[in-house]
């Protein structure tokens, strides 16, 4: 997997903070009163240092998860499983600081009418961005409520024009040892890959996230773009995606390769099917402090009504 990488942006081209913050004013003054696309605010911010927090200007709120109590920004961005930046959950926030999520190109491959490379900027113009508040259940028995910003994956799939042979979608994450210290250690078979069945990928709940808490996705959460499938265990959400591959056969994911009897392809949240290491019947909601009791884990992470029919007739113990 090769990705075309432009040389780093010379510092002379980096937009100064004041200019960026006054960008609307600046654009108007320069006569660019019409700015195409919904993501203009983000684009002009691209050249800024990655560690800065940047608001996404245009996004619509949705009703998903309105009644949930959000996990704090601090917890969401300091407690991450992102092995490319280290295996400790405190590692990514430290080691992803210098990661460069721009420029970025995503390669569309496999069973598609026309394989191609799409820039992240073009992907962002695909669909209006929306906030989706989803529960996130980690296979390790903890969970969060995260206000993602993203767009339905189905929009991207339509653009990719898969052929009739495409039955699965494989997502490949970046594995760049120069930027990602964790990749230099063979804890997993890099690059990290994940996959979905086509109907799962097309489901309206499945999104590509590009932000959280109304801000551009922090590096440690999978910048510039990561998959979010709320009814599956968190590891299904491939981060920093560089390639989307349509296949006829079920792809073998990284965790399936690493421990085939612990991790299956589907990885649907299911309190009835326990993991060899962790009971999946309950979970600890992050943010409750020392004295927060466990809460019951729900089938499909509480999204059974929306996604249950995808698995009608399937033995969920066998297809774990």
């Amino acid at each position: 997997m090769r990705i075309a990488r432009k040389p780093d942006i010379p510092s002379s081209e980096i937009t100064p903070r004041e200019v960026f913050e006054n960008r609307r004013h600046f654009l108007k003054a320069a006569g660019f009163s019409v700015v195409a696309g919904t993501f203009s605010g983000l684009l002009s911010a691209d050249a800024l240092a990655a560690s800065e927090r940047r608001r996404i200007s245009d996004l619509s709120k949705t009703d998903y998860g309105r009644d949930e109590k959000l996990t704090s920004y601090k917890d969401i961005t300091t407690y991450n499983n992102f092995y490319e930046f280290g295996t400790d959950k405190g590692d990514p926030v430290v080691h992803a600081k210098l990661f460069k999520p721009r420029p970025w190109t995503v390669s569309i491959e496999g069973e598609v009418r026309q394989p191609r490379q799409i820039s992240i900027e073009d992907i962002f113009k695909l669909a209006p961005l929306e906030e989706r508040i989803y529960r996130m259940r980690c296979v390790e028995g903890w969970s969060m409520v995260i206000p993602w910003v993203g767009f339905p994956l189905s929009k991207l799939i339509r653009l990719a024009e898969p052929t009739g042979n495409a039955r699965f979608v494989e997502f490949v994450s970046l594995a760049d040892p120069a930027q990602m210290a964790g990749v230099r250690i063979p804890v997993l078979d890099w690059p990290y890959t994940e996959g979905l069945r086509m109907d799962e990928a097309m489901h309206p709940l499945t999104i590509m996230a590009v932000g959280l808490y109304g801000e551009v996705l922090p590096n440690q959460n999978g910048a510039p773009m990561r998959l979010v499938v709320p009814w599956k265990y968190g590891f299904k959400g491939a981060k920093s995606i560089v390639s989307i591959r349509f296949t006829e056969k079920m792809p073998v994911t990284t965790w399936m390769r690493a421990a085939p009897h612990e991790y299956g392809f589907y990885a649907n949240v299911n309190p009835e099917v326990s993991h060899p290491r962790w009971s999946q019947s309950s979970e600890r909601r992050i943010g409750g402090g020392l004295l927060s009791p466990r809460i019951k884990t729900q089938l499909f992470n509480g999204y059974a009504e929306e996604v249950g029919q995808l698995y009608a007739g399937m033995d969920l113990r066998k297809h774990f």
Partner: protein, 198 residues
């Protein structure tokens, strides 16, 4: 007198990990998952003290310095102290005394069972650690306390099986344990040293 002073200092040092947890707790700095953090921390320190206790005899065998052996009991008891905290946190903050869930967890997950066994086996050792008990049990005391090797193996296994993928941490402990045990074996079989006398 000298030894007493060393013991007092080590006693205070051995309480630092606990004090640190309180300090981090007061500053809301126990990570996003504080229960897991203190569970891991107390478990790690139990292992550290166990390996410390096991290091005293090899130290004597290699260097000929005998007095650290007298710190062994304290290290062992601190292992038990941190193991008790570890177990208590597991029962209370992790599972809220949900006995059904706890029993299922112990029976279903090998790493929990192994850790639980190590804890159970360490209880009689802690109870018989006094001089009086040593005298009372005589030769059987030595036999009973040989169980510490089994406890150490189970403890390291508990750590190893708990880790999802990156086993470098537990492997380091396994390596130290293997090293400590091989020093004993070396002296016993190749140098014909009676480890009991020193």
């Amino acid at each position: 007198m000298q030894l007493l002073r060393i013991k007092a200092v080590l006693f205070m040092l051995a309480l630092v990990p606990l004090a640190r947890l309180f300090w981090l707790g007061l500053n809301d700095d126990l990570t996003a998952n504080p229960v897991e953090f203190i569970e891991r921390s107390t478990g790690t320190w139990a292992l550290v003290f166990l390996l410390t206790a096991l290091a005293m005899t090899p130290l004597r065998l290699i260097s000929g310095i005998a007095w650290p052996v007298q710190l062994r009991r304290m290290a062992g008891l601190f292992m038990f102290f941190y193991a008790c905290l570890h177990f208590l946190i597991y029962l209370w903050l992790d599972h809220w005394f949900d006995w059904h869930e706890i029993v299922t967890d112990i029976m279903e997950h090998p790493y929990v069972l192994v850790g639980f066994s190590a804890f159970l086996l360490s209880i009689p050792l802690a109870l018989t650690s006094s001089n009086a008990m040593m005298r009372r049990l005589g030769w059987r005391w030595r036999q009973l306390h040989a169980m510490v090797y089994l406890i150490a193996v189970l403890g390291v296994l508990h750590f190893l099986w708990l880790v999802k993928k990156d086993i470098r941490g537990p492997l380091a402990y396994a390596l130290v344990l293997a090293l400590l045990l091989s020093v004993r074996l070396w002296f016993r079989f190749f140098r014909r040293v009676d480890l009991r006398r020193g």
